[in-house]
């Protein structure tokens, strides 16, 4: 009887903490999609990518998720001693988190890439940059994906 009461009290306190947490910061309760985190870990290994130097630009509101223009710019001198080796784009809300990877060289001139991606739903998209010195940097953008009106019924 006592054990049941203790368990119930513990469960109630967890529940209340969670509710308070959601009230304070909704994003906390619905944390980063685990697959996306795993994908970033596969890229960066044991390192945690540092925030900064990577700018990811997505339209804030997308009328159709089938073709979304995505621009990544990474600050880098792009010399043979210090350049961006790779840029990986990870989507938190897609069935597969990896959507695109670019591999650059000191001959690239800039680390600015533009491409067009599919976004399955409103989500956060990450860009992870791997530098020639072995460090990892990251940036992100949030976007709302809506659906076009009057679609086909085949």
């Amino acid at each position: 009887m006592n054990q049941q009461n203790n368990q119930r009290r513990r469960w109630l306190s967890v529940l209340s903490l969670l509710s308070v947490g959601v009230w304070l910061n909704p994003m906390l309760a619905f944390a980063k999609k685990p697959e996306a985190m795993e994908a970033i870990t596969r890229i960066a290994g044991s390192q945690t990518p540092k925030e900064g130097r990577v700018k990811l630009v997505l339209p804030p509101l997308v009328e159709n998720g089938n073709l979304v223009v995505l621009k990544v710019s990474v600050e880098s001198p792009m010399t043979s001693q210090d350049y961006v080796k790779a840029i990986h784009v990870i989507a938190e809300g897609n069935p597969l988190p990896n959507i695109f990877s670019a591999f650059l060289t000191p001959r690239s001139g800039t680390a600015n890439i533009t491409t067009r991606v599919r976004l399955g739903e409103s989500q956060r998209v990450w860009a992870i940059a791997q530098m020639s010195d072995g460090s990892f940097w990251q940036g992100y953008a949030d976007t709302l994906v809506t659906l076009s009106a009057c679609t086909e019924s085949i």
């Binding site: 089938n66 073709l67 979304v68 784009v89 989507a91 897609n94 069935p95 597969l96 990896n98 959507i99 695109f100 990877s101 670019a102 591999f103 650059l104 060289t105 001959r107 690239s108 001139g109 800039t110 600015n112 890439i113 533009t114 491409t115 067009r116 991606v117 599919r118 976004l119 085949i154």
Partner: protein, 109 residues
């Protein structure tokens, strides 16, 4: 039998030595994600372009990997330094034996 499609390259034909040029490469391809179903409920298998490379007078200067999350008729815009006159060669490879080639000349002024 490998299949192919149209591709389009946009880049300057001339550039000053060591200036940075922008290259736009686009290939005609449905990029079937492998997550769609037919009306009968059958899964449509993945059929996408997987790799894109750019070689500048034989040296690889850029490479990209496309995943199912890349949009149809994939576009990639990237930059490179116009080091010398010559030929840039572009290659796309993908599922089901897909391959496409294109090239563009550049003259250094």
């Amino acid at each position: 039998m490998s299949k192919t499609s149209r591709t389009s390259i946009t880049m300057p034909a001339q550039a000053k030595k060591d200036s940075i040029i922008e290259i736009r490469a686009i290939a005609q391809h449905d990029m079937e994600t492998g997550y769609r179903y037919t009306d009968a409920g059958k899964l449509i298998p993945r059929d996408i372009i997987r790799f894109f490379t750019c070689q500048y007078n034989g040296a690889e200067i850029f490479r990209a990997e496309f995943h199912p999350g890349t949009g149809a008729n994939p576009l990639i815009i990237f930059t490179t330094i116009a080091t010398e006159s010559g030929t840039l060669q572009f290659e796309w490879r993908g599922d089901d034996g897909y391959e496409a080639f294109n090239q563009s000349q550049i003259t250094i002024t």
